[in-house]
Amino acid sequence: MRKTAADPKGVLEGSHFLDGDHAIAEGALAAGCRFFAGYPITPSTETAERFAERCPGVGGMFIQMEDEIASIAALVGGAWGGQKVMTVTSGPGLSLMMENLGLAVMTETPMVIADVQRAGPSTGLPTLPAQQDMMQIRWGSHGDYRIIALCPDSPQECFDLTVEAFNLSETYRVPVFIMTDETVGHMHEKVVIPPAEDIEVVERNYYEGPKADYRPYKFTGKDVAPMVKAGDGYRFHLTGLTHDERGYPHLTVEQNEKVVTHLIEKIDSNADKIIQLDESEMDGAEVVVVSYGITSRIVSRAVQLAREEGIKTGSMRLITIWPFAEKRIEELAGKVKAIVVPEINYGQMVREVERSAAGRCKVVSVPHCGGAVHDPEVILDAIKEASK
């Protein structure tokens, strides 16, 4: 992977007062994204609007497609056309994207999808926060696959993690999700955009070699084949069908095993490199609160209150949601009395925590139906109960 400084053209260097949605658009531009296809949906639309406003000035292309199905489909074409590509959406739109998420996964097409979560099911509470799509991105498209998902808890992190999302997406040729929510999306805070030379960008790894020898895939389970772009004479072929290294359909059980194992292993075998966690006050903790996104900010208050009451409480924030930090949770579960998992859903990531803890400690879910963040007192009560 070739790491370089960002193209200064896309970098709006300086201190800004931005909401999370706008910060995502700036992160994308800084990362070198020059193609955006999207469809309006609350509470994500501001990212598309920002990109639409900014992209002519940086020489990018924005298109409002007819729906979210078309938006993500256009990203597949756009990526192989030679651009870094992204879209943004929320729950109902995300559901529509599941079909071509599969195509992107299968064709190992890099792209970034920001999901500004709102409360469901269905139209639900369109203008209010939730964290209810955590499992949809992991399992929502049919078949077995892996994606990467990052979860910012502030506008600053919306910027930083969007750059990171593009870098991961190029490194592993995989769709990468930014899992934010209405509150982070619409929260205005200070966002510092560093100078271009301080932003590390992973450039696409383009194949350089004899044209006849080009293979768009290799099924090593460790790394990915270099890409080419349309028009360069490689005559590549991509298909959603089970395929061989040339990309031609190869419809056998044996080949499917090769392909699917690779799609899974290229992420799982690199999980330690990918996963980022933010841990605090873990030394001697009896109870650890595991949270992500906006909920982490409520958790910091709850942890403070718990410590004031003398409960040794630590906090682990999942910056990387997928792949899941199962090794770290497993390790932790052997040391602590309980893990408390508040999230704005009726218990999604808590299942991963339970699976990883495998009975070595108590795991307590603190659910929320969506539409608001937790009251810190509710989390505090759960910590107190868990510490008994």
Partner: protein
Amino acid sequence: MSIEVNIDKFRADSPMTDFLRMERMPHIWCPGCGIGTVVNSFAEAVKKSGMDMDKLAVISGIGCTGRVAGYVNFDSIHTTHGRAIPVATGLKLANPDMKVVVVSGDGDLTGIGGNHFIHAARRNMDIMVICVNNFTYGMTGGQLTPTTPQTANASTTPYGNYEYPFSLPFLADACGATYVARWTSLHARNITKSIREALNHKGFSFIEVIAPCTTLYQRRNRLGDGLDALEYYKEEAGVEKDVDTREVGIDFQGDIAMGRFVKQDKPTYEEAVNERYANVLGDDYQLYGMSKPEREEKAKREAEDRAKMQALMDDEEAQMMAEDMGVDEEGL
């Protein structure tokens, strides 16, 4: 009776070796199917056009015609069902030097993909869409599509179709397509010529090819084999000049109006984007780093190339007429 086929010899000898992925032959299509004719005509059109084949991408959806992308020797993507057009749109806008061609079926393009079809036409997106219309979903076993004529039998209308079908040239025209033509798979030379014209057209071009599905549509409706379908086309298909696209609907085994129904110049999506941004932002606007003089130079070069190509096609036509090679006088 069995026919011995030397597949290696066939691959080596085919005049289409440079245009098709011969290593993938034999293809999956049934005897008598019309898709192969369209692929052949397409390859022939590309060959005759003399265009840079590296700058051509073919995108297909799902279904029998959806397999076309896999057999042509160009940059190609076999997408999901109905999504060839948005994938093509993304490729084209990300890499405006490409000529992007969608080849797919009636069900794929106008059923599940109908929304994408109408919006790409509305935007005058600079892509070509070739629809092989066999009035049925072949790959899944002969179900009703949006183009199946009334009374025709499909596996999901076993008592005959009672739905109103789309007339695709009318649909494309109404939505804003700037090149619209229809032929049948009997009219291979006309298809080739139409594809050449569309390759040379800037904007959303749509070519419908009525083609037989022998295994399902023909058999289920007791219409005989592929040859019988071609007989039907010979009898009932005729070139219509200056016809209103509202009048070209197809009844079950009825008349088929053919020809080039629409050809007009209108700014494409990309041209409209460039013009709008350049008006507002002036010289600061540089799509993918291309300055205004560079864009103008490129547009000029492309316009010259198109004019040259048109002149070449006109010459060829005149020569054929002169030599009385039986070119369809009513043709394009």
